[in-house]
């Protein structure tokens, strides 16, 4: 069984270590992965800013790269991109019946990373060990828009040594929102500081998420708070794949 793996562009650009960890995890579980080189990004930043037509060529590239007969399944490491492809591409392809159909077919065999492990492979204990206190950000796209609530928590629960502490309003938006972050920095800043504060208040040493863009944002927020004295200790920011790959 061949799996087409979609890490999301931020993994390719900024955080290869997250992608590497995810590949390790999936390969140990016996998955045969492929990562087609002919695509870059789902392009949701364009659609979400209103540039639907600009997103069209980008979306076509993603479908061409991932909708291939040799791939049995599609697994996305980033919930947000997965949501864009299965829920938003139909808007982009509304006048293109061929790609619309291909998107629907692809959506039927698509899984988000944690959902794939727990609900498709039926695995929760992956033999990981991570001895530290962890809190988990329930990102909007994974939790609300894809409706994946239990799988990440089940996976974390099975990690040896991991002590989970729930943060207040764990499913409140971190304020990333794609270009929103750049266009409305004051509001986005206020949102991420509040998210960071709820993380800090748990006392946990590690913040874990299943959506890479949120991690970029939260990490940036914590780092800024650390420099200006609002935070007096280091808090690690990790993708859940890195925890599942850990043998610490």
């Amino acid at each position: 069984m061949k799996i087409a793996f979609f890490p999301g562009c931020m993994v390719d650009m900024i955080y290869p270590e997250i992608g590497i960890a995810a590949v390790n995890v999936l390969e140990r579980l016996g998955c045969d992965l492929e990562y087609p080189d002919e695509q870059v990004c789902c392009g949701q930043g364009l659609l979400n800013s209103g540039y639907r037509d600009f997103n069209y060529p980008v979306a076509k590239m993603v479908i061409d790269a991932y909708d291939r007969p040799e791939y049995d399944l599609f697994v996305s490491l980033t919930g947000s991109c997965m949501n864009a492809i299965i829920n938003d591409y139909p808007i982009i392809f509304k006048d293109d019946p061929v790609y619309l159909e291909r998107t629907k077919k692809l959506a039927e065999r698509s899984y988000e990373f944690t959902d794939f492990i727990v609900n498709y492979l039926g695995k929760t204990d992956l033999g990981a060990s991570f001895h530290d206190t962890v809190t988990y950000h329930k990102s909007c796209h994974v939790t609300r828009l894809l409706g994946i609530k239990e799988p990440p928590l089940k996976l974390l629960e099975a990690v040896d040594g991991l002590q989970y502490i729930e943060m207040e309003h764990a499913d409140r938006c971190c304020g990333f929102g794609g270009t929103f972050s750049f266009k409305q920095p004051e509001i986005a800043g206020e949102m991420v500081y509040e998210k960071c504060q709820t993380i800090i208040d748990t006392g946990a040493n590690v913040l874990v998420g299943a959506d890479v863009p949120c991690l970029l944002n939260i990490k940036g927020g914590l780092s800024r708070m650390r420099s200006d004295g609002r935070l007096d200790r280091d808090i690690r920011v990790m993708h859940i794949a890195q925890i599942l790959d850990a043998r610490e």
Partner: protein, 494 residues
């Protein structure tokens, strides 16, 4: 149209002002927490029943929207049979003219009002006052706003931005109040202060939560009892009804009445709930002798048969404001519309058009919490994005941002260019980065575009190597457990 205010300052300036106002900021945050907790407890108590109710409400509201002509006619006929005098107001100007006619006919001087967003929308108070009439707001919050000459910051609790000390000061200065800021004392004062106003008023003006077509009844959900006084003391009554307020019958009203107080303030019911049936009959002592209904469109029907049609289902409960992480920080005043928060971001451009609004529809992270909480299952965040798409399609976007999006399109649809951009951009970013953090920091706020981010957060730099390069070269790990095909089920567990 009186939907927008403070439009002479930009959204960014309004937001800055809200963020500086610690009291306002904190007040909204606290109110959200309270509503959130109370609503959450009630919803949990109902279990699956809550979702069923939402779907039922959605069906009912869709059914009315799809058969709007029929239901408008049915409501009007039955209201007339109850003795109401019906006025159809396609625009705000028509509605205002109708009201002035009624005032002139009765040579009225004074009116008492209970809270009504529609009268706010048409700017009724200003028009009446200019024409020399006295307007008295009798809802506690509206009365505070009127005295303070302030705008509503929430559609359900409009004076959320004033605390009791501020209210005490306002009453002292404007109404001759001499007491303390103890809430009970303030409300007792207001009661005494308003009582003569009710008795003196020539006309009562109010809104309508739902209009029941089968019985021709406007309804009113309130908590203070002032609505009922407005309804029953003055001899003439004017009720503003939006064409999007109609429900078919009392059974469907029941569904809405189960959803609205829970969604709005986290209560099972409100203190007062009136279902009216026209002016006083010959054998009745109380009630108005003449009652008018102004059935107003004012741009609402423009969204019929468009992707914004789901907004016709809106019950004005405010649940979307109460959960919104943006509203939380910028308050109603940040939006500069009497309809703020998610519902306002969808509705305001529908009412006033894209030329009038500033960047309001972009002040949203599309997190979807509103859609999740809306009792009418309106996909609010999708509709907010739909506005953005229309704005770009109509060429009303800012031209200075287009090159940035063109560059993104190029980078994301041309792998060769992407790889080149990464190899060139990485070293450049590292040049300006704080090397101990591996991130662009506060020192990078001079960079165009990037400064949007780095003004408030650090930005991790591009990695030296691409993940795709590693992937191509890596040797797959051996499986620890054999994978069985098709052992899975459907994705998603919610």
């Amino acid at each position: 149209m009186n939907v927008l205010y403070h439009n002479d300052v930009t959204l960014r300036e309004r937001v800055a002002e809200c963020l500086q106002d610690d009291f306002k900021h904190k007040a909204i945050e606290t109110a959200q927490e309270v509503f959130y907790a109370k609503r959450g407890a009630l919803v949990e108590e109902m279990g699956e029943g809550w979702q069923e109710l939402r779907l039922r409400a959605t069906e009912i509201r869709n059914h009315v929207t799809e058969n709007l002509d029929y239901y408008v006619k049915l409501f009007a006929e039955n209201a007339e049979a109850n003795g109401y005098i019906m006025h159809y107001a396609p625009t705000d100007q028509d509605a205002l003219a109708d009201v002035i006619d009624i005032f002139e006919k009765h040579q009225a001087q004074t009116t008492v009002k209970s809270k009504s967003m529609m009268t706010e929308e048409v700017g009724l108070n200003e028009v009446l006052e200019e024409a020399g009439y006295t307007v008295v707001e009798t809802d506690c919050a509206e009365c505070i706003l009127q005295k303070a000459e302030s705008k509503p910051s929430h559609i359900v609790v409009p004076a959320l931005h004033f605390d009791r000390d501020a209210i005490c000061d306002i009453f002292t200065e404007k109404c001759g109040y001499e007491g303390t800021s103890v809430p009970e004392e303030l409300t007792h004062f207001l009661r005494r202060y308003l009582r003569p106003e009710f008795l003196n008023a020539d006309i009562g003006i109010r809104g309508c939560n739902f209009a029941v077509a089968a019985t021709g009844s406007p309804t009113l959900i309130t908590n203070e009892g002032n609505g009922r006084m407005v309804d029953s003391v003055p001899k003439v009554q004017i009720i503003f009804v939006g064409i999007d307020r109609i429900v078919p019958d009392l059974q469907s009203l029941d569904v809405m009445e189960a959803l609205v107080p829970r969604s709005a303030v986290g209560s099972k019911m409100t203190a007062y709930f009136s279902v009216d049936s026209g002016p006083a009959h010959a054998d009745e002592v109380d009630g108005p002798v003449e009652a008018h209904i102004i059935l107003m469109d004012n741009g609402r029907s423009r969204i019929l048969k468009t992707e914004f049609e789901p907004m016709f289902r809106c019950m004005r409960c405010g649940a979307c404001l109460n959960i919104c992480p943006v509203y939380r920080h910028i308050t109603g005043h940040g939006y500069g519309s009497i309809y703020p928060g998610p519902m306002g971001v969808v509705m305001t451009p529908n009412l006033v058009g894209y030329d009038e609004i500033d960047t309001m529809v972009f002040a949203c992270s599309l997190c979807g919490a509103c859609s999740d909480h809306c009792p009418a299952t309106i996909p609010l965040h999708d509709l907010i994005r739909a506005h953005r798409i229309e704005i770009v399609d109509e060429g009303k976007n800012h031209s200075n941002e287009v090159p940035v999006f063109k560059l993104l399109r190029k980078m994301w649809s041309d792998v060769g260019f992407y790889k080149f951009a990464m190899s060139a951009g990485g070293p450049m970013m590292r040049l300006f980065a704080d090397s101990s953090k591996g991130a662009l920091t506060v020192n990078s706020t001079w960079m165009p575009v990037v400064k949007g981010w780095t003004s408030t957060r650090d930005f991790d730099v591009l990695s030296k190597d691409r993940f795709r390069t590693w992937f191509k070269n890596h040797k797959p790990l051996a499986a620890e457990t054999p994978v069985q095909e098709n052992q899975g089920t459907e994705g998603g567990d919610a």
